[in-house]
């Protein structure tokens, strides 16, 4: 009878803890976004809020913010980004009760607080959202917040993490300062961006876009700091670039593209057979799916000219995510092993009555239950892009049709823009959901 009670309690605990919600159906949401059905997409994500579970509120906020961002309801997107940012910050201050439970049971009993890189990218996507809404000052605020958050992480982890600074955010910040006429600030951002890309090259195999190096050299020349710029652009002697006076009569087009999906986390399980039954440990692992087709060239055509510009990879979120998880691998393994040991102590405590055979049976039963209870935390912000690409081109003032030349040679029509001298036009396209920015093909 006593044994039965114990088993029932253990079973109850197991189900209570591991009995999570069915989960949100991202495939359906993606279908709505792919076909450009924004009303359905926003309604679907909002109505599905409960499917994210009690511990998935942050994931709901991140997903819904991204859906509203994609659907160009920037006000709703930004309010959700702010909520997500505040919630992630709050959850970062640890909850004792939840952490005790996580040590004893599974990380999934913790409210999802976001990977560090996800928290940083809230600011980057939010900044791009402000750009799309024409609110450049607010976009700069997000770049500053991003920088501040990374500084906080660096201080917390004593600079052991690889993702210390964000090169693309720096480049964006430089372009915004330049659009604002603040050339000294633009120089500092371009200079830092080029230096950060050198770290990116080592960590993620991603070099500085050539247009960034040209921007640095041009602005450095204008503010009298060309020597400093040359020190970080080694082949600058052989490079040619438009000077500040060359660009004065022209307009600038900045193109930002999201491509592919950020990596998914999957679970690796190790089952160790013991005399007391199988001891299970589970670890998360990132699985990337780089986009099959990377962007080719940006083509701007007017009645007088056709201008082509190269599109450069500027942020590899896939690799940042993988490295970030690797950075904290030691912490994940330690926590998982402590959890496995804690569970064995609890199981031994629950199975210490009756004869040896009965104890062995209870131990086996509880370890079998643990097979289902022990789950790695595989939650991620699923709607993040896997890569961000950028292009920057100066064009004579006028009206242009913007086209995107794809990797397979096909050309996609994006939008018509009017460029005035001295202006910057920021364009955005998400290759995952072309219907939303380029219209659907019949």
């Amino acid at each position: 009878m006593i044994k039965m009670h114990k088993a029932v309690f253990a079973l109850l605990m197991g189900f209570m803890i591991s009995g999570c919600a069915a989960g949100f159906n991202h495939s359906q949401l993606n279908r709505y976004l792919e076909t450009g059905e924004c009303n359905r997409a926003t309604a679907y994500v909002d109505q599905g809020r409960k499917s994210y579970g009690d511990n998935g509120e942050l994931l709901y906020l991140l997903d819904s913010a991204m859906v509203y961002f994609q659907c160009q309801d920037f006000e709703s997107a930004q309010s959700r980004f702010r909520e997500a940012e505040d919630l992630a910050e709050k959850l970062w201050t640890e909850s004792i009760s939840r952490n005790i439970a996580a040590f004893a049971v599974s990380d999934n009993v913790l409210k999802y607080q976001g990977e560090d890189y996800e928290r940083v990218l809230i600011h980057l996507v939010s900044a791009i959202g402000f750009l799309r809404a024409g609110r450049l000052d607010e976009a700069l605020v997000e770049c500053r917040r991003l920088d501040s958050l990374l500084s906080l992480f660096n201080a917390t982890y004593e600079e052991k993490n690889v993702y210390k600074e964000d090169a693309f955010a720096r480049y964006l910040s430089g372009m915004l300062h330049e659009a604002d006429g603040e050339l000294d600030d633009a120089f500092i951002d371009y200079y830092k961006a080029v230096r950060i890309y050198k770290d990116y090259a080592k960590a993620y195999g991603l070099s500085a876009p050539a247009v960034l190096e040209e921007d640095l050299l041009r602005v450095a020349q204008a503010v009298g700091r060309l020597d400093e710029a040359r020190s970080v652009v080694p082949d600058s002697e052989s490079r040619s670039w438009l000077t500040q006076s060359d660009t004065r009569a022209m307009g600038r087009v900045v193109y930002i593209q999201f491509s592919g999906f950020a990596p998914l986390k999957i679970q690796d399980r190790i089952i160790i057979p013991t005399r007391g039954g199988p001891v299970t440990v589970a670890f998360p692992r990132m699985v990337t799916a780089p986009p099959a087709c990377r962007p080719g060239r940006l083509v701007l055509t007017s009645t007088e000219a056709g201008i082509e510009a190269r599109i450069f990879p500027a942020e590899d979120i896939n690799r940042i995510a993988v490295k970030s998880l690797n950075d904290r691998k030691g912490r994940v393994i330690a926590k998982t092993m402590v959890r496995a040991a804690t569970k064995q102590v609890i199981i031994s405590g629950l199975a210490n009555q009756g004869d040896e055979e009965a104890q062995a049976t209870i131990r086996l039963l509880l370890n079998m239950i643990n097979l289902f209870v022990e789950q790695a935390d595989t939650r991620t912000w699923r709607l993040l892009p896997g890569e961000i690409h950028v292009s920057r081109v100066y064009v004579p003032q006028g009206e242009y049709q913007v086209n995107l030349s794809l990797c397979d040679g096909d050309v996609r029509s994006l939008e018509k823009i009017r460029i005035a001298a001295g202006d910057t036009s920021f364009l955005f396209h998400d290759a995952r959901y072309p219907c939303l920015t380029a219209g659907c093909r019949q």
């Binding site: 309690f9 803890i17 009690d54 505040d86 009760s97 607010e138 201080a155 629950l350």
Partner: protein
């Protein structure tokens, strides 16, 4: 057995999470309420009042009156740029500045560029639909003598659970006729924000 059941209930209790409730209390608008440590209505009001007091205490008001037969200077508030790391609604700050300037009674004040457009539309409308005696004519607006503009900046230093926020508001008064800067002022605010590291 009792001990084991007790342990299980403690674990379940820990897992249960906290209950939440909502309460609302009305407070005076002048009461200082700091929740997140971010820029708030109190900062906006105090900074605007102090900075306007500072600018009006200077000699330029009397200098202008002496040079213009006792006429008060006409001021317009231009743009206050947000160069901080917070999403500060600069419009409310600009309104606080306007209110402090008007309430001082020492200067005349004209509508900002955005507001003028709406008033001009109304005047056009009056020209078509109002009686001749009441319709307001063109070319009778008062031009501003000075423009007040500036920026809000921040420096933030933080570690997990604690941050120091340093705000600096810079304002400049510029003569519209000569582009001369008549006054430059700044107001600094420093806040220490502590957030509990642990909570159940």
């Amino acid at each position: 057995m009792k001990k084991q059941v007790g342990i299980i209930f403690i674990v379940i209790g820990l897992l249960w999470g906290g209950c939440s409730s909502t309460s609302v209390k009305r407070v005076d608008v002048d009461e200082t309420v700091d929740l997140s440590g971010r820029w708030n209505d109190t900062d906006s009001r105090l900074v605007s009042e102090e900075m306007i007091k500072d600018v009006l205490d200077r000699s330029w008001v009397q200098d202008h009156k002496r040079a213009h037969q006792g006429k008060a200077p006409v001021v317009i508030v231009g743009t206050v740029r947000n160069r901080s790391d917070e999403h500060i609604n600069t419009r409310t700050f600009v309104k606080d500045l306007e209110r402090a300037l008007i309430n001082s009674g020492q200067v005349d004040f004209v509508a900002s560029a955005g507001e003028r457009g709406e008033v001009r539309e109304e005047r056009k409308d009056q020209a078509s639909f109002a009686t001749e005696e009441t319709a307001k004519g063109e070319g009778e607006e008062i031009g501003a003598d000075f423009m007040l503009k500036g920026s809000i900046n921040t420096i933030t230093d933080r570690i997990k659970g604690e941050q120091v926020k340093f705000y600096q508001v810079n304002l400049e008064l510029i003569s519209i006729k000569t582009q001369r800067k008549i006054w430059i002022g700044d107001k600094k605010i420093k806040k220490i924000v502590k957030q509990s590291r642990f909570g159940f």
